[in-house]
Symmetry: C2
């Protein structure tokens, strides 16, 4: 059975694209304070590991955020990226940035693609700001970028709203529509039902589907692989699952699962022991813990759990009562 079951090439999918979101989602943990050396090593690790796309941060609006209070990867100015990665760029790797609806000015801040080393802009939106997201998508597409849209907090959305959102996005220029489990609250069955909904819309409109999972209930990897097997092709992961709160799907788990020969877990293992371990030793804290389980279980934003972690609390029982009071 080990031969037949382990050996099923079900997890070989030629259309898969793995996206490393360590700098972007992980940046929410350390205020984007990665060293240049870390980012360079990560870039080189991703190339060796066969990762297809590397997300290097946000395109935050400097008029809304004080640049002195964050690392440069929150803003991703063209010259700043060039200074760190310019001499080691490899055409095998696409670079992506995220632009939040209402927090980025892509019209003003994003040069035309011909003047940029960024390849892809990922528009992050809640379901009620889809029209604004589409405006941003069209701006980025017109400038020559690949675009994706990440519909956040879908576990809070109504089916009818989601259907309308997918139809609107279907008529836009966006190439990839992401299913995002922002609160890490969705069980595999729910992810499969949602993925089917996204895949149906994608087929109708000629788009592709992506998955961005969070690990509040230790389901980020399981939900990502379930989506992959259903036909979702863009898979987000981060090194040592670094990301906001409970973190994301771990790159080291995902590359073990995927049987495409281009992917290689070994460079990732070296990066974990050399670099990610250092972040942990420096006191940067992320990843699955009881407080994140509880916000995920209650389908709530993780902000209360992040504060609980920061305060080094361990009174889970009281915390759960506080969360339940938030609900009423």
């Amino acid at each position: 059975m080990s031969e037949t079951i382990k050996g099923t090439m079900i997890s070989y999918r030629p259309d898969i694209k793995v996206l490393d979101a360590t700098i972007r989602d992980g940046g929410l943990v350390n205020n984007f304070g990665f060293t240049d050396e870390f980012v360079r090593k990560l870039y080189q690790t991703n190339i060796r590991a066969g990762v297809d796309i590397m997300e290097i941060g946000y395109l935050a609006d400097p008029e809304l955020f004080d640049e002195s209070k964050f690392g440069k990867w929150k803003f991703c100015h063209e010259d700043a990226i060039h200074a760190v990665l310019g001499d080691i760029l490899d055409p095998k790797m696409q670079l992506a940035v995220m632009a939040d609806v209402g927090r980025a000015n892509v019209e003003r801040d994003l040069p035309d693609k011909k003047d940029s080393i960024i390849d892809m802009v990922r528009i992050a939106t809640y379901i009620n700001t889809i029209p604004a997201a589409i405006e941003m998508i069209e701006t980025c597409a017109k400038k020559g970028y690949h675009t994706t849209v990440n519909i956040m907090a879908v576990s809070k959305a109504k089916e009818s709203e989601l259907q309308e959102a997918l139809d609107m996005l279907g008529h836009s220029s966006v190439e990839v529509i992401y299913l995002v489990d922002s609160y890490g609250s969705l069980y595999p069955l729910q992810i499969r039902q949602l993925a089917q909904c996204y895949l149906d819309a994608a087929e109708k409109y000629g788009k592709q589907v992506g998955i961005h999972a969070h690990n509040n209930q230790q389901l980020a990897f399981a939900n990502t692989t379930e989506c992959a097997m259903m036909g979702v092709s863009y898979l987000d992961a981060t090194m040592a699952e670094m990301g906001r709160g409970a973190g994301n799907c771990a790159m080291e788990l995902l590359l073990g699962f995927l049987k495409n020969p281009k992917y290689d877990i070994k460079p990732v293992l070296a990066f974990l022991q050399d670099e990610m371990q250092k972040l942990k030793n420096d006191g940067i804290v992320w990843g699955y813990d009881i407080q994140y389980l509880l916000t995920g279980y209650l389908n709530q934003h993780p902000r209360a759990a992040i504060a609980f972690t920061k305060d080094q609390r361990q009174d889970y029982f009281t915390f759960f009562q506080e969360l339940q009071e938030n609900e009423s």
Copy 2:
């Protein structure tokens, strides 16, 4: 069952039995060195949380193991259990012990049920020792106990062997046949395929099916819930996922998932903060980590990863090469 049930109440299943394996599987981490107070509090927590069965240890043969070298929960002598739990016994809770084929003498060491506070004996076997397991099952059943059989390391078994094993067990007195992912190597798709195989045999022979998962690839919870939704009814979990190596399915995750009103996560949260945290503070180490991911991914016994953990190594790259050499 997986086909027909839809909606959020999918995880309500009146036939579910939750089994707490903290003392037994967790005992493999701390040499069964739990205090009496810990075991009493755990018992009371389980009752409040609605847990159906509590596994309190092994029935190890004192002629094979030196009793001075292990905590008492490796042997589960009747008088020892009585001394700790005798005054707080509650008929709502069944007590279970595990007996390994070749390491327990149930004929000699197990009294008749009428003279015991143990309710259930779980026979653990590899697939090649099923005949010996059946002998033990019949002995325990004749003495009046409920019995389960745990077929370990099924990820290494051939389909034909497994089918033969299930047929043999089908003709025995065993009540529950457990699917056991000893190496934490099975993905949800594989668990579903195996569960279907077990459920088909169970239906044919009038048995029930259980799941005992390990968390090497952060899939213990996902695999347990997937099994539950297919019709598997005995679900093993442990507090804070304490168990050998990467540990098991976390009780706190499982009770959040199950919508049966009898289950309550709150007493578990109190136990985590009061008791499990203390074990961690005392330096007892278990749970998901990269080394366990790698043995799970390679479908290997976790012993090398346990040694890697004990030696406080973090050279994952080299470790992976060592594991691959083990394979060749």
